[in-house]
């Protein structure tokens, strides 16, 4: 039995919003009995993009997280729906637009806030994985078709194959602790969930300060290394994928011929920009 899964790579999403617009284009003004009632022109974003900016000027990055109905295998909405929300054999969750009428509780049951309430139609609504298109022979949903970077992939595989891919590509789901078993997977989710420590290493040579490329930068806590990298051409470095709230840490910067430097850091819940570290010649 093969089932649909959506894989989204955060490193590739650059917020063009084509998935958001394609979803609007597909559902606004179109009624698909058995699948979905029309999406309102404005207000709903069955496919949405959340933004997270990390760091401080100029050591900053931004990540975008396309989010939508997770088509969970243990979906609270299916349980709450009592027959109004069905789980198809191919993994897709459909809120029946006829049976779900008036069921605000279904919208409220989703822990991911991925079900939208349509006031005019008195109906909970969510992205159907474009099931009506897949059922008529489409190879992938429209968000995948319109994505210019290939950040989205829809694959129909067995659960075993998906489990293998999850390990192989280091995929994650949103809030796994809820145990809803989402079918939407994310790659490079650390850009949303983790933090970085960034800065710039310079070297002072006879009074002239230049960028120090190739400096070894290590972050450790209690003698245990949390990550290490080398500074780039401009002396810039970023240690990414760090867990928030690690607390007291040490950042050590070393470079041959220069005296190493160690800085004490308190790693809290936000990415940390340590600014400029100037290395001086070994005495």
């Amino acid at each position: 039995m093969t089932k649909w899964n959506l894989i989204i790579d955060l490193a590739e999403c650059h917020n063009c919003n084509n998935c958001v617009i394609a979803c609007k284009d597909e559902y606004v003004g179109n009624d698909r009995p058995g699948y979905s009632a029309p999406q309102p022109l404005h207000g709903h974003r069955w496919i949405d993009i959340k933004t997270r900016e990390r760091g401080r000027f100029p050591h900053v990055d931004v990540s975008y997280l396309p989010s939508m109905c997770n088509h969970c295998d243990d979906a609270p909405c299916v349980v709450h729906g009592n027959g109004a929300v069905i789980k198809r054999d191919d993994g897709i969750v459909i809120i029946d637009p006829a049976k779900a009428k008036g069921r605000r509780d279904i919208a409220e049951s989703c822990p991911y806030d991925a079900i939208w309430w349509n006031d005019a139609l008195d109906l909970p609504q969510a992205w159907t994985f474009d099931a009506h298109l897949l059922d008529s022979g489409w190879k992938h949903p429209r968000c995948v078709q319109s994505c210019p970077t290939g950040a989205m992939r829809a694959i129909k595989v067995t659960d075993q194959e998906m489990a293998r891919l999850t390990v192989e590509e280091n995929l994650e789901t949103l809030r796994p602790e809820l145990k809803t078993k989402p079918r939407v997977y994310y790659k490079n989710l650390f850009r949303f969930s983790k933090i970085f420590v960034a800065g710039e290493v310079l070297m002072n040579v006879n009074g002239t300060v230049d960028c120090a490329a190739g400096a070894q930068v290590t972050l450790s806590s209690g003698g245990k290394s949390l990550g290490s990298t080398q500074s780039g051409t401009f002396g810039e470095f970023t240690l990414d994928g760090l867990a928030p709230n690690t607390g007291d840490c040490e950042l050590t910067v070393s470079h041959q011929e220069f005296s190493p430097q160690t800085i004490a850091l308190d790693v809290a819940d936000e990415s940390l920009v340590v600014g400029t570290i100037v290395l001086n010649r070994n005495r």
Partner: protein
């Protein structure tokens, strides 16, 4: 004998088609009239009478005819009509397709050997009837099993499939190729093979088309301003505030045609002014350079001169060093994708965000190529006041810079190259002139100030050590410079007071590094793919049906291929786009032309009014984009309300921008509601081979997917209806409908040798096979120059006379070499802000202008927008509004977004998504604040080109909540002797703003 037989054939054909074709039957029944086709000397002929839906015919010539068609000889009549009349029987014998020989018709008409007379109303009706028979079997679209029909169309952001059911558009998608479509090209680089996917990409504004087509802001009926009385009080002072009343098309067209006649009669030459946007809805027939120009040339008008808005610094600056005036100062774009992937070690993006600006019309075609570059480990650097999407996504070093100071950074990079001996001395020696003077300037030998990294630091905000590291890396690695969104050209930095300096410094840097050598070139993988450059299909600036000999590429490209009548505007009067308000309010202004022929063309000042011409009294405006794209746009609102304009007509699709400043609004339909033809991203002479930004050349028959909404009509049809009232209909339309013009374009191009008209009509697109034979691929740009050979890239410019000594030898400059101190500027030398040597002159509005900076301490930059195509796609209730990085919905209104650094926000007590007032002496705009560390402190980032202009009080004198941030930007030209805009040199202040203070 033959002629008589041919004429007889038409009679049973009419009867047969009346039975088979609803359209023919309706036209036959619509009017009672008599047509007579004959030889001039009355020796032979035949009449056809249409009465209450019945057709009769006879041989004996009669005198009571309504439409007369006369040929000089029977032989000519036979030649023109034989294939049409015999082909009429194709219903019985499908092999006999009816057609008219267009060249024979045009020749006969031009030589007065064929004449048609009668009232335009009836002659046009008769040709409509003939055309309905000629095109009866022309079925458009691809029927799908589920009662949907899949059509094809084209947007400013890519070609699309359009799925239609029961006359309504269901969805609009990019195109996925089928097995019959050509396979793409492959590039081998560093042991790997790269092939683009078999599909087209689509920009967000193209994908949002359905919401734009069915927008509630569509103009569906002709409208007259309620207090405008053409025979009495015109109340021009109320433009922009009065309401409208619905009138019939007949009333509207009579009013428009009546005013055209009256204005010409009362004021004379030049009194009618035609103003339009720089772009349009796609299609070679409906484009503003096609139908619009044909009509305007036919009635005679004052034309608007488009300044090169997106190219300013390149055209007015860079071109003097190395030519390329035909490309507005942008270097030739060939072969760079392959060369970059094979050879380059680094790409420096400078004022360049291709993931946001999509080249020109090229959607995300370059995206996959930039991913390849990333996979190959090519280093990336991004210089921009804002950490743009390309920088964020592609990765690499972001170097923030104070807006308007780019040339200072460039000089310092060149300084390091000289002091560290990191430039290509052989190249400089052999291929350039004037370097010694530039070197002396950089080292401070002529003014005592070395242009060192330390020197530039207070100007640019870029630390000296960063400059040294960048210069050393650049000087020791084969580097592509991506200066501007398209890789070379465009870029916010070139639309500033220092824009010409910046573009000049970009080309000077590349000349020092050996421009054209392997891995050393302009580009960011947006342009220069190995598509077939020889396969001919007309681009939009080839003029479509305009026949325009002066303002389009028609005489160069298509006149000899597509038989049609030429058109020429007889008025010499011109108005620079940026000085329209002055022309209206002051009655005089001046400008410098965007003349691409030579380096000197741009120096030829012209003034308005032209000698002996009337000042403009009527504006025929095409669309409503100018508030969003005109600097200091309040001027325009005030000008519209002036009584010096007696009549303002706007032909627009949507109720937006300037449309509501018109006395009469004619509702045009979108390109999805008319038949048209066009190639993706192909702009003809406005960007020769512009399609080489694409992974696949895609030529489309732009189907009429749905009927025009409401009473809207295609631009072609509106002009035809007006022509009818001016006796011009035969001249304007040449008795062809839009789809017949599409076929003429088809026949004029190489596509007619590759796919049948019938299949093209049905499928709607054709993918031009790429050039996979390495020997036929276009060579890499400037390689010929670097190697001292004759020019070998496939572009027809510069013009022969522009080569100093030998044709195809050297550049367009006087010396044929790259000139660090251009001879053209030395000879001109009237412009104190454009000196021959590219010295750094701080912006006339920026952090250095202390008196302004004290009051307005924030620099506003207004890059080209990400989600809309200028005003196209923005506003008008489209789904683009819902993109949270485009507009922000606050209290029921979609506010434009202004981005600022949290430090600047905190100092002003501004929180995320607060309403803020952006203001300076020129006006104020209310936006939604977006706080971001990606913005350099002291800078405000807000895209240009809001489609909505919504003043809360008196137009031109009150705050705007639509988002026209160009209200704030200066109207001053970049330098005194140019017509260049410089919106990115703009100082403002921001304050928090309560919603209730701006209630309209």
């Amino acid at each position: 004998m033959m002629f008589s037989f041919v004429l007889w054939c038409l009679y049973p054909a009419l009867k047969l088609y009346s039975l088979r074709s609803d359209r023919v039957r309706a036209l036959v029944a619509e009017k009672n009239f008599v047509v007579q086709i004959q030889v001039k000397d009355c020796s032979r002929g035949r009449w056809y009478q249409f009465e209450n839906g019945r057709v009769t015919s006879g041989r004996m010539l009669r005198g009571d005819v309504d439409v007369g068609v006369r040929f000089k000889t029977a032989r000519l009549g036979t030649k023109i009509l034989v294939n049409m009349c015999s082909g009429m029987f194709h219903l019985a014998h499908p092999i006999l397709r009816p057609f008219l020989d267009p060249l024979a018709v045009v020749n006969a008409v031009k030589n007065f050997a064929m004449e048609v007379d009668g009232e335009d109303e009836l002659t046009l009706h008769f040709t409509d009837l003939m055309n309905a028979m000629l095109t009866h079997h022309w079925d458009q679209g691809f029927a799908l099993p589920n009662d949907e029909v899949r059509y094809v169309n084209q947007t400013n952001g890519g070609p699309v499939f359009v799925y239609v059911k029961n006359g309504r558009i269901i969805r609009i998608t990019p195109i996925e190729f089928d097995d019959d479509d050509a396979d793409p090209w492959t590039i081998e680089a560093r042991g790997r093979q790269f092939t683009p996917p078999r599909r087209t990409t689509l920009a967000p504004h193209g994908l949002a088309s359905k919401s734009l087509i069915y927008s509630k802001k569509r103009l569906l009926h002709p409208l007259k301003r309620i207090d405008f009385d053409p025979t009495g009080e015109r109340n021009p002072q109320n433009r922009g505030t009065s309401g409208y009343e619905r009138i019939s098309w007949d009333e509207a067209l009579d009013l428009a045609a009546g005013e055209i006649k009256r204005i010409n009669r009362e004021h004379g030459h030049g009194a009618i002014f035609n103003s339009h946007s720089s772009h349009h809805t796609w299609g070679n027939i409906g484009y503003y350079l096609s139908s619009n120009i044909r009509f305007m040339n036919a009635i005679g008008c004052t034309k608007m001169v488009l300044n090169p808005d997106s190219w300013e610094g390149w055209f007015w600056g860079a071109s003097h060093h190395y030519g390329y005036t035909m490309r507005m100062g942008i270097a030739e774009p060939y072969g760079q994708v392959e060369d970059c992937l094979k050879e380059a070690e680094m790409i420096v993006f400078w004022a360049s965000d291709p993931e946001s600006t999509c080249g020109s019309y090229a959607a995300f075609e370059g995206t996959v190529r930039r991913q390849w570059a990333r996979q190959l480990g090519i280093k990336m650097v991004h210089i921009d006041p804002y950490k743009n999407e390309t920088a964020n996504w592609l990765g690499g070093k972001w170097i923030p810079i104070i807006p308007g100071t780019g040339p200072a950074l460039a000089h310092a990079i060149a300084y390091v190259w000289i002091t560290d001996d990191l430039y290509d001395k052989d190249y400089v020696e052999q291929r350039t002139t004037g370097f010694e003077k530039y070197r002396a300037y950089l080292l401070g030998e002529d003014d005592g100030i070395p242009k060192s990294p330390q020197w530039q630091e207070p100007e640019t905000g870029v630390k000296a050590h960063i400059v040294r590291a960048l210069a050393r890396e650049w000087g020791s690695k084969k580097t592509y410079l991506s200066c501007g969104g398209k890789g070379v050209g465009f870029g916010g930095a070139n639309r500033a007071a220092t824009g010409a300096q910046w573009a000049r410094s970009m080309v000077c840097l590349m000349a020092m590094q050996g421009l054209g050598k392997p891995g050393i070139n302009f580009g960011n993988l947006t342009a220069g793919t190995p598509v077939d450059m020889q396969f001919y299909f007309p681009g939009y600036a080839d003029g479509g049906i305009s026949g325009d000999m002066e303002g389009t590429g028609d005489p160069v490209q298509n006149y000899q291929r597509m038989p049609h009548l030429i058109s020429i505007n007889t008025s010499n009067q011109k108005i620079p786009r940026l000085r329209i308000p002055e022309a209206i309010l002051d009655g005089e202004t001046e400008g410098y032309p965007t003349d691409p022929k030579s380096l000197e063309g741009q120096f030829q000042r012209f003034s308005y009014p032209s000698a002996g011409h009337s000042r403009i009294k009527m504006m025929y405006k095409y669309g409503g984009s100018h508030f969003g794209t005109t600097m200091e746009s309040n001027r325009l609102a005030i000008a519209y309300r002036s009584d010096s304009l007696e009549f303002v007509l706007n032909q627009s699709i949507w109720d937006e921008g300037e449309a509501r400043f018109a006395d009469l609004i004619l509702p045009a339909c979108t390109n999805f509601e008319r038949t048209d033809i066009g190639e993706w991203a192909s702009s003809g002479g406005y960007g020769h081979h512009n399609f080489n930004q694409l992974n696949h050349r895609v030529i489309t028959l732009q189907h009429k997917c749905i009927e025009p909404l409401g009473e809207s009509k295609s631009d072609f049809q509106i002009f035809l209806e007006l022509s009818k009232r001016l006796g011009l209909s035969a001249y304007f339309g040449e008795a062809k409908t839009e789809i017949q013009w599409c076929r003429e374009q088809f026949l004029s191009s190489d596509i007619s040798k590759s796919i049948s008209w019938k299949n093209f009509l049905k499928k709607g697109y054709y993918v031009v096979p790429p050039e996979n034979n390495q020997a036929n691929r276009a060579p890499t740009s400037m390689r010929w120059f670097a190697e001292g050979r004759k020019k070998d890239v496939p572009e027809p410019s510069p013009l022969p006379a522009e080569y100093g000594e030998e044709y195809l030898r050297g550049l367009q400059t006087q010396s044929g070499k790259f000139e660090f101190e251009p001879q053209s500027l030395k000879r001109f030398d009237q412009d104190p802000e454009r000196p021959p040597l590219n010295r750094y002159i701080p912006a006339w509005e920026g952090r250095q202008t202390k008196d302004i900076y004290r009051r307005y301490p924030l620099q506003l930059i207004t890059p080209h927008p990400r989600f809309s195509f200028h005003t196209n796609g923005d506003g008008k209730d489209s789904v683009i509004n819902d993109i949270e990085h485009h507009r922000s919905l606050i209290d029921g209104h979609y506010f434009w977004i202004a981005r600022l650094n949290p430090l600047d926000a905190e100092a002003r007590d501004i929180l995320e998504r607060d309403l803020v007032r952006l203001y300076n002496d020129r006006g104020s705009v209310i936006c939604a604040a977006m706080l971001s560390e990606r913005v350099t402190p002291g800078v405000v980032h807000s895209y240009e080109s809001s489609a909505e202009y919504q003043p809360v009080g008196e137009p031109g004198k009150s705050p705007d909540i639509g988002g026209c941030v160009n209200i704030l930007t200066p109207k001053r030209h970049m330098t005194p002797n140019t017509s260049a805009s410089a919106p990115n040199s703009c100082l403002i202040q921001i304050e928090k703003c309560a919603r209730e203070t701006i209630q309209p």
